[in-house]
C-alpha cells in the first residue's frame, strides 16, 4: 500500500485543528489578475479610442453587478464547511468551486439563473484553477445561448481565454469562428479560417479554398501575402502539370524536386534549376516568377546563384556576378559580407583543388585559400599568400597562427 503515499501527501484533507506547530503558515498573496483583466476588458477598443474616461457606463455596470451579487452571497460564504452537506446539494457557488478543485462530485444543474452561473464562473476564475474554469465554461456553454455567453465573456478575459483554448482543443472551429466574430476579433477569425487550408490534401481544392480566403477580414498587409499564397499555388499546379507532361514526352529529365506547396523561394529555386533560360513570358521562367511576386534583387540573386552553382553551371554563376558588379553592388561593410559567404559556400563545392584555389583567389576567398594550403601542408605557398591579405587582418592572424602551429607537419 505504499502506492497511496503520493495521493495521501497531495490530496489528503486533514482537519485543520490537527496542524502541527512546526507548520509554516505562509501568507496569502494577491493573485487577482482577473480584476486587471476585467477592468481592461470592460472597455471596448472603440470606447478607448473615443477617449471615454474610466467611469464608462459598461464598466460601472459590470462592477456593480459583481459587487452586489458578492455581497448578496457573502454571509453564506462564511459558513463553515461541514460534512453533512455531502448528501444534500445546497452548495453555494464558492463551495461548489472548492469541491470541484478537490475533484469531488458536484452537480451544477441547480445553478440556473444567470447570476448564479456567473458567480460560479467568477469564483472559479479567482481560484486560478484552469481545470475548474473550463468545467464551468462547459456547463455554461451547454446551458446559455451563444449570444449571452459571448456577451458575458467580453468582460471576463481569463474565462474567455479558457473557452478559446477549450474550443481549439476540441476542434470546435465553427463556434470559435462565431466567438471571434462576436468579439470583433476579425484577424483571429480570418487566421482561424485560413488555417483550415493545411488540412486540405488535394491541391486543386486547396487552391480554391485559398481563393475563398481572399474575402476574409485580414489586415491589408496579410491579405497581400495570402493573395501571393493563392497565386503561388495556382502557378505551382500549372508548372507541375506542364513539367510532368514534358517529362513523359522526354523533353525534360525526370525531376526529383517537389514543387507543390513549396515556399515561393523554393519555387524560384526550382525554376532556376530547371527553367533558367526560359523566356519571361512562361509561367516557369525565373524572371517571370521574380516579377509576379516582387522578389527583391538580393533574394533573386542568392537563389539563382545557389541553383546554378548546384548544377555547376559556372558560366551562369559568373554571369550573375558580372551583372552584379555592373549594378554596382560590390561595396561591402562587414569583413565577411553577404556575397562573400555565398560565394564561399559554392567555391568550396568545386571538386578540383586547382580550380577551387583559382576561383577562391580570384574572388578573394582568403579563408578557403588558407585552408587549402593548410590541408596541403604547403608552408611556402601560405607564406607567399600572406602578402596578399590585408595587413593586420583576421586572415593575416590566421596565417600567422598556422605558421607558428607546432602540430602541423609542413611538407616544405
Amino acid at each position: 500500500m505504499v502506492g497511496r503515499g503520493i495521493s495521501w501527501s497531495v490530496n489528503e484533507t486533514a482537519a485543520s485543528n490537527q496542524r502541527t506547530d512546526r507548520e509554516p503558515a505562509f501568507p496569502k498573496i494577491n493573485t487577482d489578475t482577473s480584476t486587471t483583466n476585467k477592468s481592461l476588458s470592460g472597455y471596448s477598443l472603440s470606447s478607448l479610442f473615443k477617449g471615454k474616461t474610466k467611469g464608462g457606463n459598461f464598466q460601472q455596470f459590470t462592477d456593480s453587478l459583481t459587487d452586489s451579487s458578492l455581497r448578496l452571497y457573502a454571509p453564506e460564504l462564511r459558513k463553515p464547511k461541514s460534512e453533512y452537506k455531502d448528501y444534500i446539494s445546497d452548495w453555494s457557488p464558492e463551495e461548489t468551486v472548492q469541491r470541484m478543485q478537490h475533484g469531488k462530485a458536484v452537480s451544477l444543474e441547480k445553478f440556473r439563473s444567470l447570476q448564479d452561473k456567473l458567480l460560479l464562473l467568477d469564483f472559479s476564475v479567482s481560484a486560478n484553477d484552469g481545470n475548474v474554469i473550463t468545467a464551468v465554461l462547459i456547463y455554461l456553454k451547454r446551458t446559455l445561448s451563444k449570444e449571452v455567453l459571448f456577451r458575458e465573456l467580453q468582460s471576463r478575459q481569463t474565462a474567455l481565454r479558457h473557452l478559446i483554448c477549450y474550443l481549439r482543443e476540441s476542434r470546435d472551429h465553427r463556434l470559435l469562428q462565431e466567438l471571434f466574430r462576436a468579439l470583433g476579433r476579425t484577424e483571429d477569425e480570418a487566421l482561424l479560417k485560413y488555417k483550415e487550408h493545411l488540412s486540405i490534401a488535394d491541391e486543386n481544392k486547396r487552391r480554391d479554398f485559398l481563393k475563398s480566403c481572399l474575402s476574409l477580414p485580414f489586415s491589408p498587409e496579410d491579405l497581400a501575402l495570402v493573395q501571393d499564397h493563392y497565386t503561388l499555388l495556382e502557378r505551382q499546379i500549372i508548372i507541375e502539370a506542364t513539367d510532368r507532361q514534358a517529362e513523359r514526352g522526354g523533353k525534360l529529365p525526370t525531376k526529383t524536386m517537389p514543387i507543390l506547396n513549396m515556399s515561393l523561394i523554393t519555387t524560384l529555386y526550382y525554376c532556376c534549376f530547371y527553367h533558367y533560360s526560359e523566356a519571361e513570358n512562361t509561367f516557369s521562367s525565373p524572371l517571370n516568377v521574380r516579377h509576379t511576386f516582387k522578389i527583391s534583387e538580393k533574394q533573386f540573386f542568392v537563389t539563382a546563384l545557389a541553383a546554378r552553382a548546384e548544377l555547376k553551371e559556372w558560366s551562369d554563376v559568373d554571369a550573375l556576378f558580372t551583372c552584379r558588379n555592373w549594378l554596382g553592388f560590390t561595396k561591402k561593410k562587414s569583413p565577411l559580407s553577404f556575397q562573400r559567404v555565398v560565394l564561399q559556400d559554392y567555391v568550396a563545392l568545386v571538386d578540383d583543388a586547382e580550380l577551387r584555389i583559382t576561383l577562391a583567389q580570384k574572388h578573394k576567398c582568403h579563408d578557403i585559400v588558407i585552408n587549402i594550403y593548410r590541408d596541403l601542408k604547403d608552408r611556402q605557398q601560405l607564406l607567399g599568400y600572406r602578402g596578399k591579405v590585408e595587413m593586420g587582418s583576421a586572415e593575416e592572424r590566421k596565417i600567422d597562427e598556422l605558421l607558428t602551429n607546432q602540430q602541423i607537419r609542413w611538407k616544405n
Binding site: 497531495v10 484533507t13 503558515a25 489578475t33 476540441s170 495570402v226 515556399s263 511576386f293
Partner: protein, 616 residues
C-alpha cells in the same frame, strides 16, 4: 554560528525517493486491474516512464503487450486495455472511438484510462458525450516530478509553456502547485519563498492552499528557500545560442529526458548509441558546465592521463596485474569509452558549427545584446532568411532582435516578415500571429517611439509605460524593456575587457562573457537582498508580480543552517541547460546549492517549435 569565509556547498537531498513513490503508485494502479492487460502509452510519456518503471516491472504486473498511442485502430486481442495518457481531449476521443468500434463489433472488453498527473474535467466531458462513461474506468497517476539528475527535477510538461503563456490557459497551475507541495511535504518545510510572474504567484497560492489543507509532518527541513520564476520574465536567455557543453549538446543532439542519442558520426561506428547524460558520467560531469572552447583541451588532457594509467601495466608482476585488472581496468575502460564518445560529440559539434558560420552568428547575437550595430545585425538576419538557412535560426534571431530592441520598426518588420514568408512559406502567417501575441516578435507602435528613445539614451522609463500591462488586443504579451533592464542589472559586461573563459568571473561565462542571464541574475540579486527591496525599478520594468514571503517557523531557522543554503529554483515554462550551469556557478561562488525544478528542459528550438502553427 561562525562561518568561514569560504563555505563548502551543502549536500543535496536524495530525490530518488520521488521515483520510488511514482513507481509504487503506478504499480498500485496496475494492480487495481487484475489479470493480463495491454498497455497503451502516450508517446511523450514513454521516456519518463522508462526512467521510473522498466518493461520488466510492467510485465511483472501482468502487462502483456505495450503499444504507443498513435490514433490508429487497435490490433490488440487482449480483453483488458489500459491507457496511460496525458489529459488531452484528442487522446480521450480516440479511446472513445476504440471503445465504440468494439461495441459496434460486438467485442466486449474492459477499458481503463490512467491520466497523469491528473484528469481534467474536459476529458470527462468527452467520455460523457461519447456515451462511454460506465464502459471505461478512470484513475490518476500522481506522477508529478521526474528527477533527471542530482540537482534537476522536471515535470516533463513541455506544453505548459504554450498553454500558459500563449493561450492563457491556467490548467497546469495547480499541477505546478501540487509538484511544489510534493517536494515541500518530503523535503520541507520551506522557510522563505520568492517569486516573480503571474503564473508563479498563482502556483504559490495553489501550493499554499494545499499546504493549509494538508498536514506537514514534523521533519528536518532539507530545502530552505524557494524561488519561482515565469519563463516570460526572461525570453532573451533561452533564445541565445548555447555555448556551454551541456547546452550545446542539447541544441545539437537534443537531450530527451536526460538521455541523448549519438549518431554514427559521433560513435565512429555504424550504430547510433543512447547515452545517459548526468553526474554519473564522470567525464561528462567535468565538462558539462564548461564553455565549449575549454572542452577540447580538457578532453585531450584527460586522454593523456588515461594513457598514463594504462601504461602503468608495463613492468607489473602477475599479482599487481591481477589487482590492476580487477580494480582499475574496468573503470579505465569505462572512462575510455565515455571519453571517446564526448570527443566524438565535440568534433561533430565543431563540424556543424563551422559549417553554419557560428562565429558570425554569435557576433550578431552579441551585437543585439549590446545594442550596437543594429543595422548590420538586421542585414545579417535578412541574409540568413534569403539563403533559407535554418528556419528556426532565422526566427530565433528575429525574436531576439525584437525583444532587445523593444519591437521592430514598422518598415523593417514588414520587409523581414515578407521575406521570411517568401523563404519558408506563407503558412507562417499563423506563426507570426502567435509570436506577436506572446510579445516575442512585434512591430513598434507609433506611440512607443518615445519609450524606445528614452531607453536608448538611458533615461528611466516612467511609471506609465512600465506599468502598462497587457496590450489592447487582450493578449498576454508584455513589453520588453531589455535595454533598461540590462543597464540596471549590468547584464552586458563591458566588451573592451578581456574575458578569460577558463577562469569565469561571473555567470556571463555561459555566453562567452557577453551576457549575464537575466533569470539567474534575478535569483542572485533576490538571494543577496533577501527579497526585492532595492529592485523596485527592475520589477517595474518586468511588469511586477514579484513577491517574497516568510513562513512563521522563523524561530528554528537558525538551527537549520544547511537547509537555508539549499535553494530550489522553479522555472514555470521551462529552463535551459545554460541557466542550470549559471546557477551551479552561482552556487559555487556563494556557497549555495541550487536545485532546479522545471516544467521541462527547454531551448530556443523547443520554444519556437511550440509556437509554430504551420501544421494541422
Amino acid at each position: 554560528m561562525a562561518h568561514s569565509a569560504r563555505r563548502d556547498c551543502p549536500e543535496l537531498p536524495d530525490f530518488s525517493l520521488l521515483k520510488t513513490l511514482a513507481r509504487d503508485h503506478l504499480i498500485y494502479l496496475l494492480e487495481q486491474l487484475p489479470g493480463k492487460k495491454d498497455l497503451f502509452i502516450e508517446p511523450d510519456l514513454m521516456s519518463p516512464l522508462d526512467r521510473i518503471a522498466n518493461v520488466s516491472i510492467l510485465k511483472q504486473h501482468e502487462v502483456d503487450k505495450l503499444y504507443k498511442v498513435e490514433y490508429k485502430p487497435v490490433i490488440s486481442t487482449s480483453d483488458q486495455l489500459c491507457f496511460l495518457i496525458r489529459p488531452r481531449i484528442q487522446t480521450v476521443k480516440w479511446i472513445c472511438d476504440v471503445a465504440n468500434a468494439d461495441k459496434a463489433a460486438g467485442k466486449c472488453r474492459r477499458y481503463k484510462i490512467i491520466f497523469t498527473p491528473k484528469k481534467f474535467y474536459s476529458c470527462d466531458a468527452v467520455l460523457e458525450e461519447q456515451g462511454i462513461i460506465g464502459d471505461v474506468t478512470t484513475d490518476e497517476w500522481s506522477f508529478y516530478l521526474l528527477p533527471l539528475d542530482d540537482d534537476i527535477i522536471s515535470l516533463e510538461l513541455p506544453e505548459f509553456f504554450r498553454d500558459n503563456f500563449l493561450a492563457g490557459d491556467q490548467r497546469w497551475v495547480k499541477t505546478a502547485g501540487s509538484a511544489l507541495h510534493l517536494i515541500h511535504s518530503l523535503y520541507g518545510p520551506f522557510s522563505k519563498i520568492y517569486g516573480i510572474g503571474r503564473c508563479s504567484k498563482m502556483a504559490y497560492e495553489s501550493w499554499r492552499e494545499q499546504v493549509a489543507e494538508g498536514e506537514q509532518r514534523a521533519q528536518k527541513a532539507e530545502i530552505g528557500k524557494v524561488f519561482l520564476i515565469d519563463r516570460d520574465v526572461d525570453f532573451v536567455t533561452p533564445l541565445c545560442s548555447q555555448v556551454v557543453y551541456e547546452g550545446l549538446v542539447d541544441d545539437i543532439f537534443r537531450i530527451k529526458c536526460g538521455c541523448v542519442e549519438f549518431g554514427p558520426e559521433v560513435t565512429s561506428s555504424d550504430k547510433s548509441m543512447k547515452v545517459m547524460l548526468n553526474s554519473q558520467d564522470k567525464v561528462f560531469n567535468e565538462i558539462r558546465n564548461e564553455h565549449f572552447s575549454n572542452v577540447f583541451g580538457f578532453l585531450s588532457q584527460k586522454a593523456r592521463n588515461l594513457q598514463t594509467a594504462y601504461d602503468k601495466r608495463r613492468g607489473m608482476d602477475i599479482k599487481q596485474m591481477k589487482t590492476f585488472v580487477s580494480e582499475e581496468f574496468k573503470g579505465l575502460k569505462q572512462e575510455h569509452r565515455l571519453l571517446s564518445l564526448h570527443i566524438g560529440a565535440s568534433e561533430s559539434i565543431m563540424k556543424q558549427k563551422t559549417k553554419q558560420d557560428f562565429q558570425e552568428l554569435l557576433k550578431t547575437e552579441h551585437s543585439l545584446l549590446e545594442g550596437f550595430e543594429i543595422r548590420e545585425s538586421i542585414s545579417f538576419i535578412e541574409e540568413h532568411i534569403n539563403r533559407r538557412v535554418s528556419m528556426l535560426e532565422s526566427l530565433r534571431l528575429l525574436c531576439l532582435l525584437s525583444i532587445t530592441e523593444n519591437g521592430l520598426l514598422p518598415k523593417d518588420f514588414r520587409s523581414l516578415k515578407t521575406q521570411f514568408l517568401q523563404s519558408y512559406g506563407v503558412d507562417h502567417l499563423l506563426t507570426f500571429a502567435n509570436l506577436r501575441q506572446l510579445g516575442l516578435l512585434v512591430e513598434q507602435q507609433p506611440g512607443e517611439m518615445l519609450t524606445v528613445m528614452e531607453s536608448k539614451v538611458g533615461k528611466l522609463v516612467n511609471d506609465k509605460t512600465a506599468g502598462k500591462l497587457t496590450d489592447a488586443f487582450s493578449s498576454l504579451a508584455r513589453k520588453s524593456h531589455f535595454r533598461a533592464l540590462s543597464r540596471k542589472l549590468n547584464l552586458v559586461p563591458r566588451s573592451d575587457e578581456e574575458y578569460d573563459l577558463r577562469v569565469p568571473r561571473d555567470m556571463a561565462y555561459i555566453f562567452s562573457g557577453a551576457y549575464v542571464p537575466l533569470s539567474c541574475k534575478l535569483v542572485e540579486q533576490v538571494l543577496d537582498r533577501d527579497g526585492w527591496t532595492g529592485l523596485e525599478e527592475v520589477t517595474k520594468l518586468l511588469n511586477g508580480h514579484e513577491f517574497a514571503v516568510t513562513g512563521n517557523n522563523g524561530a528554528d531557522s537558525k538551527a537549520k543552517g544547511n537547509a537555508q543554503r539549499i535553494v530550489l529554483v522553479m522555472f514555470l515554462g521551462g529552463c535551459t541547460f545554460s541557466e542550470i550551469s549559471a546557477l551551479r556557478f552561482l552556487g559555487r561562488e556563494k556557497g549555495f546549492r541550487f536545485i532546479v525544478v522545471t516544467t521541462a528542459i527547454t531551448n530556443s528550438s523547443r520554444i519556437l517549435e511550440s509556437l509554430l502553427d504551420n501544421h494541422v
